[in-house]
């Protein structure tokens, strides 16, 4: 059982890190919120009141959407685009969705292939794109949530300063919405782009995200042990 658990440690570790960081964010966010409340002569909020407010939701959602967009675009782009020398890329010449034989679907499926990879039709089509569909759905849902919670927070600020509230659609075209959105997108695109480019020449021994240390720089699509 311990051996079996050890085989899941990558996702367990990130689940623990995620929950720890989320709890940390909630306490730090409460601190900032209450500093602001006191500065405006309002009463400070309790922990529960804060974590169930749009102030907390908008901060969580804007980060979720950018992370899921990052992976959505990375999964999508790596179907068609290649980067010679990067372990994150397919081999030059392999661009595209691949043949049924290379994808082990339909009559090329193995006996232990997933059921929907064997059946064909709409189920095969759906399953063939399921990762992209889920990442894209979470991106759109959290981006939409950022806009809904963002409208509430923006309007509370407007009322505090004697300004009229805005409708959701006005908020979606506001500078505040795009400032929150683009400040997250730029960092995601920077991180993905630099990961692709730096991994051509740099190595991390033992990491699945790196080429083995002695791999020639021009070699593409060879991941570590």
């Amino acid at each position: 059982m311990r051996k079996a658990l050890r085989s899941q440690m990558l996702s367990i570790t990130f689940a623990v890190l995620f929950l720890g960081a989320l709890v940390g964010q909630s306490f730090a966010g409460l601190g900032v919120y209450n500093e602001n409340q006191i500065a405006h002569g309002s009463s400070p909020a309790g922990y529960w009141e804060f974590v169930t407010s749009s102030n907390f939701v908008v901060d969580v959602a804007e980060n979720w959407q950018s992370e899921y967009l990052q992976f959505f675009l990375f999964i999508l782009a790596t179907i068609w685009l290649i980067q010679r020398g990067s372990p994150e890329s397919k081999m030059p010449g392999d661009e595209g969705v691949g043949t049924d034989e290379s994808q082990l679907v339909g009559r090329f499926a193995k006996p232990n292939s997933p059921k929907w990879a064997k059946v064909g039709g709409w189920r095969l089509k759906l399953y063939s794109n399921s990762l992209l569909l889920v990442m894209g759905t979470v991106f759109l849902a959290s981006w939409w949530l950022q806009s809904v919670a963002g409208t509430v927070v923006y309007n509370a600020d407007q009322l505090d300063h004697g300004q009229p509230p805005v409708e959701w659609i006005q908020y979606v075209f506001s500078a505040d919405f795009w400032d929150r959105t683009l400040q997250n997108w730029q960092s995601e695109f920077l991180a993905v782009g630099s990961m692709v480019a730096l991994s051509i020449y740099l190595r991390q021994r033992g990491s699945a995200e790196s080429k083995p240390v002695g791999t020639p720089h021009a070699e593409t699509s060879t991941e570590g042990e």
Binding site: M1, K3, A4, L5, S7, Q8, S11, I12, A15, F18, T52, S53, S54, F56, V57, V60, A61, W64, V134, V138, A141, S142, L145, V148, A149, V152
Partner: protein, 69 residues
């Protein structure tokens, strides 16, 4: 998932007939099957936990966002 060789703890059971002895094969297969089932169960649990965590997170945010708080 492929099974690579006999687990070390079963070495003593190989005997003179070697590791393909019919006497040892059923035990090896059942150990492998047990481990395989355990991995499969944990992988399914991981998948469900992550999808559930994302789903519950989104649902809570929808409820809070639309409560207008």
């Amino acid at each position: 998932m492929r099974f690579h060789g006999t687990p070390p703890s079963l070495g003593w059971r190989r005997g003179r007939a070697g590791q393909n002895s019919p006497a040892t094969r059923p035990l090896r297969i059942s150990l492998y099957a047990g481990r395989h089932r355990s991995y499969a169960r944990l992988m399914r649990t991981q998948f469900s936990l992550w999808l559930g965590m994302i789903g519950v997170g989104l649902l809570l945010m929808i409820i809070i966002g639309f409560s207008g708080r």
